[in-house]
């Protein structure tokens, strides 16, 4: 049965379209289409250029975002370094204050001792 079905279907291969129809359609399609094809080519060209333009704009935008983020990170690093330097300066100033405070205390103790000696 299966082979019979295949055989019947294969026999359909001998069917051919009418020669007049083939020739008439061929003429109509190829003649009429020339101007449509030019229009299609023009449209295709416009679309192609639009796609290229869009790609360039997108790439530029992405590049801009990337560069901005890199510059932003660098800027942030500079700020951090500046902060470290400022912290160090602040530390030094604190040390100086501490030194002067301790020195004043020593001077005061020494003066008190001298005054006691004088009193005696």
């Amino acid at each position: 049965m299966e082979q019979e079905i295949e055989k019947i279907l294969k026999e359909f291969r001998t069917v051919q379209p009418n020669a007049n129809f083939v020739e008439r359609t061929r003429r109509i399609i190829l003649a009429e289409q020339k101007q449509n094809l030019d229009l299609a080519k023009w449209r295709h060209g416009v679309w192609k250029h639009f796609k290229i333009g869009l790609t360039v704009v997108t790439a530029t935008f992405v590049l801009f975002i990337l560069i901005s983020s890199i510059v932003g990170n660098t800027q942030q690093k500079v700020d951090e370094n500046q902060l470290i330097t400022e912290t160090a300066d602040f530390q030094i100033e604190l040390e100086e204050i501490k030194y002067f405070a301790e020195s004043a205390k020593d001077v005061s103790v020494a003066l008190q001792k001298i005054s006691e000696d004088v009193m005696e």
Binding site: V15, T25, L30, K41
Partner: protein, 177 residues
């Protein structure tokens, strides 16, 4: 497959109507048979084939060769055209037109008394199959296309095509018993 097909396509893509004409001459018989089997009416088949080749010529600039014969791409257009035809017109098949043509063409078949009857039965049974099943049977057995080419034409995997073919044959057998 047509010799120097790639070169013809390339020229046709650049607007060379003679090259497209050669492609047309080579492929029109098989596209016509496919459409005729799907719509079962000679006039409708001719109208649809006309539309299919107009559409192919219009959009050949967008065709990209992916290692399949040009026919796979044409079948895709033909499939869509037939689907649109049924969607819009909701036509019913008229197997008489096909039968006449079928029996007329092959003298060996027409000599057999039961040839027409057999064909009527097969064609009638095929109308009960899904569109995919009909496509696979026509492409495989009428046009002798490979499973890979059919898969490309109907946008399914090769495995799916084999399954569809197997089921289509089984359903036809059941319908014809």
């Amino acid at each position: 497959m047509l010799e120097s097909e790639e070169s013809l396509i390339k020229k046709a893509k650049s607007g060379d109507s003679d090259s497209f004409g050669e492609l047309y001459d080579y492929y029109i018989p098989q596209i016509y048979r496919y459409v005729l089997l799907k719509v079962s009416n000679k006039t409708t088949a001719e109208d649809l084939v006309h539309e299919i080749f107009i559409s192919a010529w219009k959009s050949i600039g967008r065709y990209e060769h992916k290692g399949f014969p040009f026919s796979s791409w044409l079948y895709q257009i033909a499939r869509n055209q037939v689907i649109d035809h049924y969607r819009v017109k909701k036509t019913h098949s008229d197997i008489e037109t096909v039968n006449e043509e079928f029996v007329k063409i092959d003298p060996d078949v027409s000599e057999r008394m039961d040839a027409k009857l057999q064909w009527e039965k097969v064609k009638g049974a095929m109308q009960n199959l899904s569109q995919d099943q009909q496509d696979v049977l026509i492409m495989r057995f009428v046009e002798d296309m490979s499973h890979r080419e059919i898969a490309e034409a109907i946008k399914k995997t090769e495995g799916a095509v084999r399954i569809i073919q197997h089921r289509a044959i089984n359903e036809l057998k059941n319908l014809l018993v």
